[in-house]
Structure formats: C-alpha cells, structure tokens
C-alpha cells in the first residue's frame, strides 16, 4: 500500500518539532511549580508568564486576558457557563448560540437551561451562515452571553464575527466565539474584532492535546467552573501546565506567522480537490459551498452512499477522513451540523469530511481526487444492484 494520507487535520494535528523542542526543558530540568517560592518555582513562573505574553500577542490581547485551559471544551464551557452564572443576578437569563456550535457550547447551553436559564438557537442559512434577522431578534437585553463559532469544524464556514460581535456589544450581551478551527486560518485579534471571549485549542495547531486557552476581555464577568487555588487570578485553579502552555504559545506564534501563506496553500489544494470531485461526481454536494469557507475543510456528500462504508473503504486504502461526530462507542452518529443546515438525512448520512493541513501534499490531493470518486462509483454500483 502506498504511504497513508492524513486528511483529518480538523480532528487533530501532529505536534510540530519546534513546539516539542520548546516544551522539552519543562518535562526535564525546569519541572518546577509556578506557585513555589524557590528558584525552581521562579523559573517555571517565568516560563508561564512568558508563554502567556506570547500567546496574548498572537491574540491582540494583554497577558491578563489570557487564561490557559486543558482544552477547547473547557474554554467553551468556561465562556458560556462562567459568564452566564456570573450575570445570573442581572436579569439576563438568556443564552444564545447557533445550532452548529461544537457540543462543548451546545451542552453548556443545555446546562444553563437546566439551571433555569433560557436557551435559544439562531436560525442559519442552508450554507450555515447566521441569519442576521434572527440574530437581531434573539440577541436582546435579556441575554447574558451569546456564542458563535468562527469557523465551523465540520463544514469550514466562516461567520462574520466582527459584525455579530458589534451587534451583541451594543446590546450589552457578552459575545463568545469558539475560534478553535479559526485560529491560524483567520485573523483572530481582539484589537480588531470586538468579541469578548475566544476559545483556542493547542492540538489543532501543532501543540499537544491537553492545552487550550480562553481569551477574556478585561471587565467581562466570569465565574470560575472549578474551585481551588488562586492560579490564573482564581479563574482557573489547579497547578498550571507549564510545558504545554509553552508549547501552545510557540504553536500559536508559528500559526500566526504562517497564517496567510497557509491559507493560500490550503485553499489551492482544497479547490483542486473539490474541482476534481465536481468533475468526476457531477451530483456531489459540497456543504456550505455558497458561504465563505476556511481553506482546510471540505465536507461532501454523494447521494446513494453512506459515510460509514466510505470511511472504512478509505481507511483500508490508507486515507484518513471523518464524518459527523463519534459517540462514546466510536460509532458515527448523524451530524447535528448538517441536519441544522437542513440537509436531508440520507445525504447527511453520506457526508465525508476531509481536512487539510501541514501533512497534506499536492500528490495526496491528486490520489484522493482519483480514489474517492472511484469508491463512490463502487458504492453506488452496489446500492443499485439487486439484493443478492
């Protein structure tokens, strides 16, 4: 079998060599606890502070506006639930989100409903863009926090965060954006875009799993989700993960430096792949195609096929893709994003997400451009054949 092809960068990415190098000392000699008074502690504290400063620069933020978390999910939970709880007494029981958020946001909004809040979901277009009229009508004075994913993790659609955040601000609604897929692709800068909170995750940009961060604009009401020590101004108790914070900062710097080049490169590869699909599978559906999209994600459905079989067939030929989301057993479950877009169940259950990144080469794209239509034709042949 030829070299395997990894087309699942939206799921996770390999740790970059530069990031591993940057982290290395903190697994070894510089192992100190940043809260300790002695030299080991001071050394660790210095490294953590520096990492925070560097990540802050990448986000157009002040260091005190950056809170390290264990992952994107924690950052999302903290943003949505932490702000809502902090504003509970203000007469703002509402939380607003899109129906195509990551489960980390949707489940936090459900939790708010369980705690007595009002959960409202925005209308979106067939291409996954937030409907502005719906936004105008739902994001009102009784809403504590609103959350809109900048780049959707399943279909890559890019929302107009500047505009939406501006409307929210005018109404006193705290605006959070899950920027986990956006960071390194679009310009996530708190000076230029008026969001109040933004979540990022290390393992999507070449840092390890187990580190994320939440940007928290100064003055944003926030209640901690965990209880313990005074780390990170009490917002996030628990001994800081120094090595990983250093790794995230390094990865973020690289991502920002390479952002525009990365966009151009991946967009060209993505366009080439989609052009081949459209040519070879005339009825292929590319989800979110009519909206602005980030360059690293393409999500396609072919009528008469199913994701599960295609993913297995692709994997057995060395091509790693994904579909929908996996439940705890590992089974693929239908995508809530595609159903929110109004994609028919048959078509939604045929979706295959391919996500490009550092490992993707033009040769990979050409191989998949051949292989995928071939597997699709085969699957359709089987579906059309009479039962045996």
């Amino acid at each position: 079998m030829p070299e395997p092809i990894y087309l699942d960068h939206a799921a996770t990415t390999p740790v970059r060599a530069e990031v591993l190098d940057a982290m290395q000392p903190y697994f070894g000699p510089r192992f100190g606890n940043p809260s300790s008074v002695h030299r080991w502690g001071r050394e660790a504290r210095a490294a953590l502070d520096e990492a925070r400063e560097r990540l802050a620069r990448c986000l157009g933020a002040s260091p005190d506006e950056v809170c390290f978390t264990s992952c994107g999910t924690e950052a999302d939970n903290m943003a949505v639930l932490g702000v809502w709880r902090a504003r509970r007494a203000e007469g703002r029981p509402g939380v607003v989100a899109t129906p195509i958020e990551h489960k980390a946001v949707l489940a936090a909004a459900h939790e708010i409903a369980a705690e007595g809040g009002h959960e409202r979901l925005l209308a979106i277009s067939d291409d996954g863009l937030v409907d502005e009229a719906s936004f105008e009508s739902l994001v009102r004075e009784d809403v504590a926090v609103c959350s809109v994913m900048w780049v959707n993790n399943e279909i890559g659609v890019v929302q107009d965060i500047a505009r939406l955040a501006g409307i929210a601000r005018a109404r006193g609604v705290v605006f959070h954006t899950d920027a986990v897929q956006a960071f390194g692709k679009v310009d996530v800068d708190a000076r230029r875009t008026p969001f109040d909170l933004a979540s990022v995750s290390g393992h999507k940009i070449g840092a390890p799993k187990g580190i994320g961060a939440l940007y928290i604009r100064r003055g944003t009401p926030m209640q901690a989700l965990m209880f313990g020590g005074a780390q990170d101004r009490g917002r996030r108790p628990g001994t800081e993960n120094v090595a990983m914070a250093v790794g995230l900062a390094r990865a973020a710097e690289l991502a920002v430096a390479e952002r525009e080049h990365e966009w151009t490169t991946l967009a060209a590869l993505r366009d080439r792949l989609e052009a081949a699909f459209v040519e070879r599978i005339p009825d292929v559906v590319i989800h979110g195609r009519g909206a602005p999209r980030a360059p690293h994600i393409t999500n396609v459905s072919v009528p008469g096929t199913d994701s599960e079989s295609l993913l297995m067939a692709l994997d057995l030929r060395g091509v790693a893709c994904s579909a929908g989301s996996a439940c705890q057993s590992g089974a693929i479950t239908p995508s809530h994003v595609l159903s929110a877009l109004g994609v028919a169940p048959d078509l939604a259950s045929a979706a295959v997400r391919m996500s490009l990144g550092a490992l993707t080469t033009a040769a990979d794209i050409d191989r998949v451009a051949e292989l995928f239509p071939m597997l699709v034709a085969k699957a359709r042949g089987l579906a059309a054949a009479p039962a045996r």
Partner: protein, 362 residues
C-alpha cells in the same frame, strides 16, 4: 490474501474467530455493530455494552487488524426491536436473535463487506457451512443453528464460521493459547441484548407507552371461557408458562393461548399444550425447497430435541408440517427450524399449532 469482515461482539467466540482467521492468513477486518444506545446499559454485560466494544477494539489491536464500529442502531431498531414489541402486542413470543441474524448480522454486515471489497464475512456462531449448506455446530451444547435459519441462502457462499467445529472449551483454550486473556474467560451472554435486566415489558413500555394494551390488565380464562382471575398484561405471558397463574386447581395449569383482541390469557392443563401440526410463515429455505410429503426433523425451540414431521403444505410464504408425535407448547412467534440430521433445511416463524389444540384452531 482474501479479505474477511468479522463481526466482533467483544466476546470469546468472535474474538477467537477473528484470531483463527488471522492465523489462517486472511486479511481480517474487525467490526462491532452498535445496535442500541449505550447510555443506560449495565457495565458488566458480556456483550453489546460499551465495554464490549472496547474489548473488541483491543483484541483487534492485539491481532494487528483494523477495527470499526458500525452504527446499525436505526436499522436494528426498525428490524428487530420494533418487531419484538409488535409481536408481543399481537400476543406472540418473538425471538429477536433470529431477526438480528437475518437482517442485521448477515444482511447489513454483508453490505459493509461489499463496501470494503471483503469476499467473506465471519461471526463467532456455533454452526458450520459444509459444501454451501448450513450445518449444526459440532458441539450439541453450543449449537446455534436454530437462530440462523433466516439468513439469505446466498450468504452461505460468503460465510465463515471459524468456531463452529469446536466446543466452547476448545474455544476458550484457543483464546488462552493465542494470548487473548482479556476475553478468554468472559461469561456467556444469556439475555436478550437490548433488554437490560431480563424484563422485556420495560422495552414494550418504552416503545408503546406504559398504557399499551399488552401491558394492561385482562382476564385469565379457562378454555371454556370462564373467568378465573386477572393478569397485569398479556405481554408478560407465553405459551406453556406456569409462573404467575392463579392457583387452586387439581392439576398444574399452563398458558395455552393468548387472545390480544380481548386481552384474555387462556389457561389449561398440560395436555391442552399438545399440538399435532405447525403452520409457519416467513419461510426461508437454505436448500432447494423440499417437496410436499418430505420428511423433516422439526425443532420448535432452541435446544429442544427435534421431532419427526412431514411437510404437508408448502407455498412461498407458508408451510404446514404434521408431527409424528405431538409437541408441547408450539408458540406463535417462535421459530420452527427444519433439519435433516445436521443439515439445516430452512425455517419459519410459527403462526399457529394444528389439532390437539382446538382452542387455537384457525
């Protein structure tokens, strides 16, 4: 190297099946079928739990073969669980394992096999395919052929049953020999996989509502129609059942009929259970259909001793068999499987018993 898709439950039989196929040089792909939601199940079940999916995955890892989880939840819900509930509502006693084999394990699995260019599918069933014909498993204590009559005949030419020619003890020994300690001594699965605590009425209540007629109170009546008491739902009863009946009779009493229209559970003495013939539907032949007058061995329950019978009527969707000696508790909804020695000829779903049970006469 020929590819084989192995259905792996995480139990010892299918794990050993996969391991044997690896040893025989097949290109093995493991798959665990997710048949229902794992939110509420019990952690210590031998199969179909989240832990068992993880066990199957770890065995595949150990064997160095890929493993996938197939989401067959909606197909299983439609083809197996819904039918299970509907059958009880009709006063019958279904066997979901038969329909699961027919539709889920073999039909749906075969589609997945086609999708990945697998020439073969395999399972850990104790049955054998000999010269294109399904045979009983070699170990009479484990034989599972009774549950396999419904699979499409064409499937037989693509089916491998690697443990069918050995005993359970041998299977466990092979598991140890191959270092599959994770699952080698795993307990047998006994209950119906989607009925978590052995109480099937909970599934009925969940699907049809707690006020479903099959779970509502109704009368116990004698064969003559005399009311003898009250029961709390005919779905709790099956033909031949003794437990849960009113007492005070000179001889032991059994459920001899269930009448969903009036919610009556009819009780009578042992001899009222005897039937001289069987009418069955949903017929499936795994060999060329035998002619009218053919003598067959008939099994109406898993692990029952077969009785001799004659095929007296046969059409595409219904057969009638006359038994040489009457059988007890011929139960609508259960399977009748026809054998010739070890060979499985075919089977069907019991529609009703004939003669000797006048109350059941159609």
């Amino acid at each position: 190297m020929e590819r084989v898709l192995v259905a792996m439950s995480g139990g010892v039989d299918s794990s050993v099946a996969a391991a044997l196929l690896v040893r025989q040089g097949y290109d093995v792909v493991g798959a665990t079928m997710k048949l229902f939601c794992h939110d509420t199940d019990l952690p210590d079940r031998p199969c179909c739990s989240l832990d068992s999916v993880n066990d199957a995955r770890r065995i595949c890892e150990q064997l160095g073969v890929p493993h996938y989880v197939l989401n067959l939840e909606s197909a299983f819900g439609r083809d197996v669980v819904q039918d299970f509930v509907d059958e009880y509502a009709r006063g019958r006693t279904p066997i979901p394992c038969v329909r699961c084999n027919t539709f889920t394990k073999f039909r749906d699995l075969l589609r997945k096999a086609d999708a990945i260019d697998a020439r073969w599918i395999a399972t850990g069933h104790y049955a054998q395919v000999v010269g294109g014909v399904l045979h009983r498993g070699l170990d009479p204590a484990k034989d599972q052929s009774y549950f396999l009559w419904g699979i499409e005949r064409a499937v037989l030419s693509r089916m491998i049953l690697p443990v069918g020619a050995q005993t359970k003890a041998e299977t466990r020994a092979i598991a140890h020999e191959l270092g599959l300690e994770l699952i080698a001594e795993k307990a047998e699965s006994q209950d119906i996989c989607f009925v978590p605590d052995g109480d099937h009425t909970k599934i009925i209540a969940r699907t049809l509502g707690a006020d479903a007629p099959s779970l509502a109170r109704g009368p116990f009546v004698s064969r003559e129609g005399r009311v003898l008491g009250e029961h709390d739902g005919f779905a709790r009863y099956t033909i031949g059942q003794r437990r849960g009946l009113p007492g005070g009779f000179a001889e032991p009493m059994f459920v001899v009929d269930i009448r969903p229209a009036t919610r009556e559970v009819v009780i009578g003495p042992r001899e009222a259970l005897l039937g001289h013939g069987i009418v069955a539907r949903e017929i499936n032949w795994l060999v060329d259909a035998p002619p009218i007058g053919a003598e067959v061995e008939v099994q109406i329950r898993h692990r029952n001793t077969p009785v001799r019978g004659t095929l007296v009527r046969s059409s595409a969707d219904e057969v009638e068999i006359v038994l040489e000696t009457p059988a007890s508790a011929i139960t609508p909804g259960q399977s009748v499987v026809m054998y010739d020695g070890a060979r499985v000829l075919g089977g069907g779903v019991i529609e009703r018993a004939r003669r000797g049970l006048p109350i059941l006469a159609a």
